[in-house]
Protein backbone atom coordinates (compact mmCIF):
# COMPACT_ATOMS: atom_id res chain seq x y z
CA UNK A 1 0.00 0.00 0.00
CA UNK A 2 1.18 3.53 -0.67
CA UNK A 3 3.59 5.24 1.68
CA UNK A 4 4.00 8.51 -0.08
CA UNK A 5 6.02 10.23 2.55
CA UNK A 6 9.40 9.32 3.90
CA UNK A 7 9.90 10.37 7.44
CA UNK A 8 12.99 10.98 9.53
CA UNK A 9 13.72 7.96 11.81
CA UNK A 10 12.16 9.52 14.87
CA UNK A 11 8.95 10.27 13.00
CA UNK A 12 9.03 6.77 11.62
CA UNK A 13 8.91 5.29 15.14
CA UNK A 14 6.29 7.76 16.20
CA UNK A 15 4.18 6.91 13.16
CA UNK A 16 4.38 3.19 13.94
CA UNK A 17 3.36 3.94 17.52
CA UNK A 18 0.44 6.06 16.37
CA UNK A 19 -0.78 3.37 14.02
CA UNK A 20 -0.80 1.01 16.98
CA UNK A 21 -2.66 3.48 19.22
CA UNK A 22 -5.23 4.30 16.59
CA UNK A 23 -5.65 0.65 15.61
CA UNK A 24 -6.22 -0.27 19.26
CA UNK A 25 -8.79 2.48 19.67
CA UNK A 26 -10.40 1.54 16.37
CA UNK A 27 -10.58 -2.14 17.34
CA UNK A 28 -12.22 -1.35 20.66
CA UNK A 29 -14.71 0.91 18.89
CA UNK A 30 -15.30 -1.80 16.28
CA UNK A 31 -16.03 -4.35 19.01
CA UNK A 32 -18.26 -1.90 20.84
CA UNK A 33 -20.21 -1.17 17.67
CA UNK A 34 -20.70 -4.84 17.02
CA UNK A 35 -22.63 -5.10 20.27
CA UNK A 36 -25.05 -2.36 19.18
CA UNK A 37 -28.38 -3.64 17.89
CA UNK A 38 -28.04 -1.41 14.84
CA UNK A 39 -30.27 -1.22 11.81
CA UNK A 40 -29.61 -4.64 10.45
CA UNK A 41 -26.19 -6.12 10.03
CA UNK A 42 -24.85 -3.41 7.75
CA UNK A 43 -25.95 -0.30 9.42
CA UNK A 44 -23.63 0.89 12.13
CA UNK A 45 -22.46 4.42 12.93
CA UNK A 46 -19.03 3.45 11.55
CA UNK A 47 -17.26 5.24 14.37
CA UNK A 48 -14.24 2.99 13.90
CA UNK A 49 -13.62 4.72 10.59
CA UNK A 50 -12.92 7.92 12.50
CA UNK A 51 -9.56 6.46 13.50
CA UNK A 52 -8.62 5.60 9.94
CA UNK A 53 -9.52 9.14 8.98
CA UNK A 54 -7.32 10.49 11.77
CA UNK A 55 -4.46 8.26 10.66
CA UNK A 56 -4.85 9.52 7.12
CA UNK A 57 -4.87 13.18 8.05
CA UNK A 58 -2.29 12.92 10.82
CA UNK A 59 0.04 10.72 8.81
CA UNK A 60 -0.70 9.24 5.42
CA UNK A 61 -2.78 6.71 3.52
CA UNK A 62 -0.49 3.85 4.52
CA UNK A 63 -1.20 4.56 8.16
CA UNK A 64 -4.94 4.59 7.48
CA UNK A 65 -4.70 1.25 5.68
CA UNK A 66 -2.71 -0.19 8.58
CA UNK A 67 -5.21 1.00 11.18
CA UNK A 68 -8.09 -0.39 9.16
CA UNK A 69 -6.59 -3.78 8.41
CA UNK A 70 -5.52 -4.29 12.02
CA UNK A 71 -8.98 -3.31 13.22
CA UNK A 72 -10.80 -5.64 10.84
CA UNK A 73 -8.48 -8.58 11.45
CA UNK A 74 -8.32 -8.34 15.24
CA UNK A 75 -11.98 -7.35 15.45
CA UNK A 76 -13.20 -10.28 13.37
CA UNK A 77 -10.87 -12.74 15.10
CA UNK A 78 -12.25 -11.60 18.44
CA UNK A 79 -15.84 -11.81 17.28
CA UNK A 80 -15.25 -15.13 15.54
CA UNK A 81 -16.29 -13.74 12.16
CA UNK A 82 -12.87 -13.96 10.51
CA UNK A 83 -13.23 -14.99 6.84
CA UNK A 84 -17.00 -15.17 7.16
CA UNK A 85 -19.43 -13.06 5.10
CA UNK A 86 -19.46 -10.47 7.89
CA UNK A 87 -15.72 -10.13 7.57
CA UNK A 88 -16.00 -9.88 3.80
CA UNK A 89 -18.54 -7.09 4.21
CA UNK A 90 -16.28 -5.26 6.67
CA UNK A 91 -13.26 -5.65 4.44
CA UNK A 92 -14.90 -4.58 1.21
CA UNK A 93 -16.57 -1.63 2.88
CA UNK A 94 -13.37 -0.48 4.54
CA UNK A 95 -11.25 -0.84 1.40
CA UNK A 96 -13.82 1.18 -0.54
CA UNK A 97 -13.79 3.80 2.22
CA UNK A 98 -9.99 3.99 2.12
CA UNK A 99 -10.04 4.35 -1.66
CA UNK A 100 -12.59 7.15 -1.36
CA UNK A 101 -10.44 8.90 1.26
CA UNK A 102 -7.36 8.56 -0.94
CA UNK A 103 -9.28 9.99 -3.87
CA UNK A 104 -10.64 12.91 -1.87
CA UNK A 105 -7.23 14.05 -0.60
CA UNK A 106 -5.72 13.81 -4.07
CA UNK A 107 -8.24 15.75 -6.12
CA UNK A 108 -7.34 19.42 -6.55
CA UNK A 109 -10.38 20.53 -4.58
CA UNK A 110 -10.14 21.72 -0.99
CA UNK A 111 -12.11 19.08 0.80
CA UNK A 112 -12.00 19.08 4.58
CA UNK A 113 -12.37 16.23 7.07
CA UNK A 114 -16.15 16.36 6.78
CA UNK A 115 -16.13 15.98 3.01
CA UNK A 116 -13.60 13.17 3.14
CA UNK A 117 -15.49 11.39 5.87
CA UNK A 118 -18.76 11.70 3.94
CA UNK A 119 -17.18 10.22 0.81
CA UNK A 120 -15.66 7.39 2.84
CA UNK A 121 -18.96 6.61 4.50
CA UNK A 122 -20.91 6.56 1.23
CA UNK A 123 -18.26 4.36 -0.40
CA UNK A 124 -18.24 2.05 2.61
CA UNK A 125 -22.00 1.56 2.46
CA UNK A 126 -22.15 1.21 -1.32
CA UNK A 127 -19.43 -1.42 -1.39
CA UNK A 128 -21.07 -3.39 1.41
CA UNK A 129 -24.46 -3.45 -0.24
CA UNK A 130 -22.97 -4.34 -3.65
CA UNK A 131 -20.93 -7.19 -2.11
CA UNK A 132 -23.95 -8.33 -0.12
CA UNK A 133 -26.15 -8.27 -3.21
CA UNK A 134 -23.83 -10.01 -5.63
CA UNK A 135 -21.45 -12.11 -3.55
CA UNK A 136 -23.35 -13.09 -0.44
CA UNK A 137 -27.01 -13.16 -1.38
CA UNK A 138 -26.59 -13.37 -5.14
CA UNK A 139 -29.70 -11.25 -5.40
CA UNK A 140 -29.39 -7.93 -7.26
CA UNK A 141 -32.77 -6.95 -5.83
CA UNK A 142 -30.91 -6.16 -2.65
CA UNK A 143 -29.42 -3.12 -4.39
CA UNK A 144 -32.77 -1.40 -4.14
CA UNK A 145 -32.15 -0.80 -0.45
CA UNK A 146 -28.96 1.11 -1.23
CA UNK A 147 -30.48 4.61 -1.44
CA UNK A 148 -32.20 4.10 1.91
CA UNK A 149 -29.00 2.91 3.52
CA UNK A 150 -27.07 5.76 1.89
CA UNK A 151 -29.21 8.22 3.81
CA UNK A 152 -27.93 6.64 7.01
CA UNK A 153 -24.40 6.62 5.65
CA UNK A 154 -24.74 10.26 4.69
CA UNK A 155 -25.73 11.22 8.24
CA UNK A 156 -23.06 9.14 9.93
CA UNK A 157 -20.43 10.20 7.39
CA UNK A 158 -20.99 13.86 8.17
CA UNK A 159 -21.24 13.13 11.90
CA UNK A 160 -18.01 11.17 11.89
CA UNK A 161 -16.36 13.95 9.90
CA UNK A 162 -17.13 16.54 12.56
CA UNK A 163 -16.14 14.10 15.26
CA UNK A 164 -12.79 13.56 13.52
CA UNK A 165 -12.36 17.32 13.24
CA UNK A 166 -12.83 17.63 17.00
CA UNK A 167 -10.45 14.80 17.74
CA UNK A 168 -7.83 16.17 15.36
CA UNK A 169 -8.06 19.58 17.02
CA UNK A 170 -7.42 18.00 20.39
CA UNK A 171 -4.48 16.07 19.02
CA UNK A 172 -2.60 19.29 18.32
CA UNK A 173 -1.21 19.26 21.89
CA UNK A 174 0.86 16.32 20.87
CA UNK A 175 2.99 18.20 18.37
CA UNK A 176 5.97 19.59 20.16
CA UNK A 177 7.56 22.67 18.55
CA UNK A 178 10.33 20.70 16.86
CA UNK A 179 7.74 18.64 14.97
CA UNK A 180 5.82 21.51 13.61
CA UNK A 181 7.94 22.33 10.66
CA UNK A 182 7.54 18.73 9.61
CA UNK A 183 3.83 18.69 10.29
CA UNK A 184 3.06 21.72 8.16
CA UNK A 185 5.18 20.58 5.27
CA UNK A 186 3.64 17.15 5.46
CA UNK A 187 0.19 18.57 5.05
CA UNK A 188 1.06 21.04 2.38
CA UNK A 189 2.46 18.11 0.47
CA UNK A 190 -0.80 16.65 -0.56
CA UNK A 191 -3.73 18.45 0.88
CA UNK A 192 -4.82 21.96 1.65
CA UNK A 193 -6.44 20.84 4.88
CA UNK A 194 -4.33 22.99 7.14
CA UNK A 195 -5.18 26.04 5.10
CA UNK A 196 -8.86 25.27 5.40
CA UNK A 197 -8.44 25.18 9.15
CA UNK A 198 -10.65 22.12 9.33
CA UNK A 199 -8.25 20.00 11.25
CA UNK A 200 -4.88 20.14 12.87
CA UNK A 201 -3.42 23.55 12.30
CA UNK A 202 -0.10 23.75 14.08
CA UNK A 203 0.61 27.24 12.82
CA UNK A 204 -2.36 28.65 14.66
CA UNK A 205 -0.90 27.76 18.00
CA UNK A 206 2.05 30.01 17.56
CA UNK A 207 1.69 33.58 18.65
Amino acid sequence: MPRHTHYPPRQERRRALWITYLAAAATVTHLFESTLPGLGPWFKPGLANVFALIALLQWDLGAAVGVTLIRITIGSLTLGTFLTPTFLLSLSGSLAALSAMAFMVRVPIRFGVVGISLAASLAHMSAQVVVAAYVIVGHPALLSILPLFLIGAWITGIGNGYLSALVLERLTWYHSPEDESFGSSHYSNHTPLSKAGTCRNPGARQP
Binding site: R110, G112, V113, V114, G115, L122, P140, S144, Y162, T198
Partner: protein
Protein backbone atom coordinates in the same frame (compact mmCIF):
# COMPACT_ATOMS: atom_id res chain seq x y z
CA UNK B 1 -32.20 27.93 22.07
CA UNK B 2 -31.25 30.36 19.32
CA UNK B 3 -27.81 30.89 20.77
CA UNK B 4 -27.09 27.20 21.14
CA UNK B 5 -28.31 26.47 17.63
CA UNK B 6 -26.35 29.48 16.47
CA UNK B 7 -23.16 28.18 18.04
CA UNK B 8 -23.87 24.73 16.60
CA UNK B 9 -24.24 26.24 13.15
CA UNK B 10 -21.05 28.24 13.67
CA UNK B 11 -19.31 25.02 14.65
CA UNK B 12 -20.67 23.13 11.67
CA UNK B 13 -19.54 25.85 9.28
CA UNK B 14 -16.16 26.44 10.88
CA UNK B 15 -15.11 22.81 10.58
CA UNK B 16 -15.98 22.43 6.91
CA UNK B 17 -14.67 23.88 3.69
CA UNK B 18 -16.80 25.34 0.93
CA UNK B 19 -16.12 22.18 -1.08
CA UNK B 20 -17.31 20.08 1.87
CA UNK B 21 -20.60 21.94 2.04
CA UNK B 22 -21.17 21.72 -1.70
CA UNK B 23 -20.34 18.00 -1.57
CA UNK B 24 -22.78 17.48 1.32
CA UNK B 25 -25.59 19.12 -0.64
CA UNK B 26 -24.64 17.41 -3.90
CA UNK B 27 -24.47 13.91 -2.39
CA UNK B 28 -27.78 14.47 -0.61
CA UNK B 29 -29.39 15.37 -3.93
CA UNK B 30 -27.97 12.28 -5.61
CA UNK B 31 -29.19 10.03 -2.80
CA UNK B 32 -32.67 11.55 -2.77
CA UNK B 33 -32.89 11.29 -6.54
CA UNK B 34 -31.90 7.62 -6.49
CA UNK B 35 -34.34 7.04 -3.63
CA UNK B 36 -37.09 8.57 -5.70
CA UNK B 37 -36.28 6.36 -8.65
CA UNK B 38 -36.04 3.10 -6.77
CA UNK B 39 -38.81 4.00 -4.34
CA UNK B 40 -41.43 4.18 -7.07
CA UNK B 41 -40.58 0.74 -8.37
CA UNK B 42 -42.84 -1.83 -6.83
CA UNK B 43 -40.94 -4.99 -7.76
CA UNK B 44 -37.46 -5.61 -9.06
CA UNK B 45 -37.38 -9.03 -10.56
CA UNK B 46 -39.30 -12.10 -11.50
CA UNK B 47 -38.17 -15.32 -9.88
CA UNK B 48 -39.15 -18.46 -11.72
CA UNK B 49 -39.69 -21.72 -9.86
CA UNK B 50 -40.16 -25.13 -11.39
CA UNK B 51 -41.13 -28.06 -9.17
CA UNK B 52 -40.28 -26.04 -6.06
CA UNK B 53 -36.80 -25.30 -7.42
CA UNK B 54 -35.79 -21.72 -8.06
CA UNK B 55 -34.49 -21.86 -11.62
CA UNK B 56 -34.13 -18.30 -12.80
CA UNK B 57 -34.57 -14.67 -11.86
CA UNK B 58 -35.20 -12.06 -14.54
CA UNK B 59 -35.19 -8.29 -14.09
CA UNK B 60 -38.65 -6.74 -14.32
CA UNK B 61 -37.47 -3.68 -16.21
CA UNK B 62 -36.27 -5.55 -19.28
CA UNK B 63 -38.67 -7.15 -21.72
CA UNK B 64 -38.17 -10.88 -21.89
CA UNK B 65 -39.92 -14.05 -22.93
CA UNK B 66 -39.25 -17.53 -21.65
CA UNK B 67 -40.85 -20.75 -22.68
CA UNK B 68 -40.51 -23.53 -20.15
CA UNK B 69 -41.46 -27.15 -20.47
CA UNK B 70 -44.18 -27.69 -17.88
CA UNK B 71 -45.67 -31.02 -16.97
CA UNK B 72 -48.65 -30.28 -19.23
CA UNK B 73 -46.83 -28.65 -22.09
CA UNK B 74 -45.07 -25.34 -22.60
CA UNK B 75 -45.55 -22.47 -20.21
CA UNK B 76 -44.69 -19.02 -21.38
CA UNK B 77 -43.41 -16.27 -19.12
CA UNK B 78 -43.51 -12.79 -20.48
CA UNK B 79 -42.02 -9.64 -18.98
CA UNK B 80 -43.00 -6.26 -20.35
CA UNK B 81 -43.36 -2.72 -19.00
CA UNK B 82 -42.37 -3.65 -15.46
CA UNK B 83 -44.91 -6.45 -15.17
CA UNK B 84 -44.82 -10.17 -15.74
CA UNK B 85 -47.34 -12.81 -16.65
CA UNK B 86 -47.46 -16.54 -16.99
CA UNK B 87 -49.42 -18.22 -19.74
CA UNK B 88 -50.13 -21.90 -19.88
CA UNK B 89 -51.68 -23.52 -22.92
CA UNK B 90 -52.65 -26.85 -21.47
CA UNK B 91 -54.28 -26.47 -18.09
CA UNK B 92 -57.90 -27.02 -17.25
CA UNK B 93 -58.29 -24.19 -14.78
CA UNK B 94 -55.83 -21.81 -16.39
CA UNK B 95 -55.32 -20.05 -13.08
CA UNK B 96 -51.84 -18.88 -14.00
CA UNK B 97 -53.11 -17.27 -17.18
CA UNK B 98 -56.11 -15.81 -15.44
CA UNK B 99 -53.91 -14.18 -12.81
CA UNK B 100 -52.80 -11.81 -15.56
CA UNK B 101 -50.03 -9.26 -15.23
CA UNK B 102 -48.33 -9.02 -11.87
CA UNK B 103 -45.88 -6.34 -10.82
CA UNK B 104 -45.90 -5.79 -7.05
CA UNK B 105 -43.42 -7.45 -4.74
CA UNK B 106 -44.70 -10.75 -3.41
CA UNK B 107 -47.30 -11.30 -6.15
CA UNK B 108 -47.46 -14.80 -7.54
CA UNK B 109 -48.73 -16.38 -10.72
CA UNK B 110 -48.58 -20.12 -10.93
CA UNK B 111 -49.63 -23.06 -13.01
CA UNK B 112 -49.79 -25.63 -10.26
CA UNK B 113 -50.42 -28.67 -12.46
CA UNK B 114 -47.50 -27.60 -14.69
CA UNK B 115 -45.31 -27.18 -11.61
CA UNK B 116 -44.32 -23.65 -12.60
CA UNK B 117 -44.59 -20.52 -10.54
CA UNK B 118 -43.36 -16.98 -10.91
CA UNK B 119 -43.00 -14.55 -8.08
CA UNK B 120 -42.15 -10.87 -8.04
CA UNK B 121 -39.42 -10.05 -5.57
CA UNK B 122 -37.17 -7.20 -4.63
CA UNK B 123 -38.11 -3.61 -4.06
CA UNK B 124 -39.86 -2.50 -0.95
CA UNK B 125 -42.02 -5.29 0.45
CA UNK B 126 -45.62 -4.19 0.15
CA UNK B 127 -47.77 -4.72 3.18
CA UNK B 128 -50.60 -7.03 2.23
CA UNK B 129 -54.03 -6.44 3.66
CA UNK B 130 -54.25 -10.01 4.90
CA UNK B 131 -51.67 -12.49 6.07
CA UNK B 132 -53.63 -15.19 4.29
CA UNK B 133 -56.97 -15.76 2.61
CA UNK B 134 -58.89 -18.87 3.61
CA UNK B 135 -60.52 -20.37 0.57
Amino acid sequence: MTTSSGTLLAFLISRSTVADRLWIVFSAMIILASLWFTGSEPGEEVVIFRNAQRIEALPLDQPAKRSLPGRLGPVEIEIRDGAARLREFESARMIGTRTGWISATGEIAACVPCGIMIRISGGAPSTPTYDAVAR
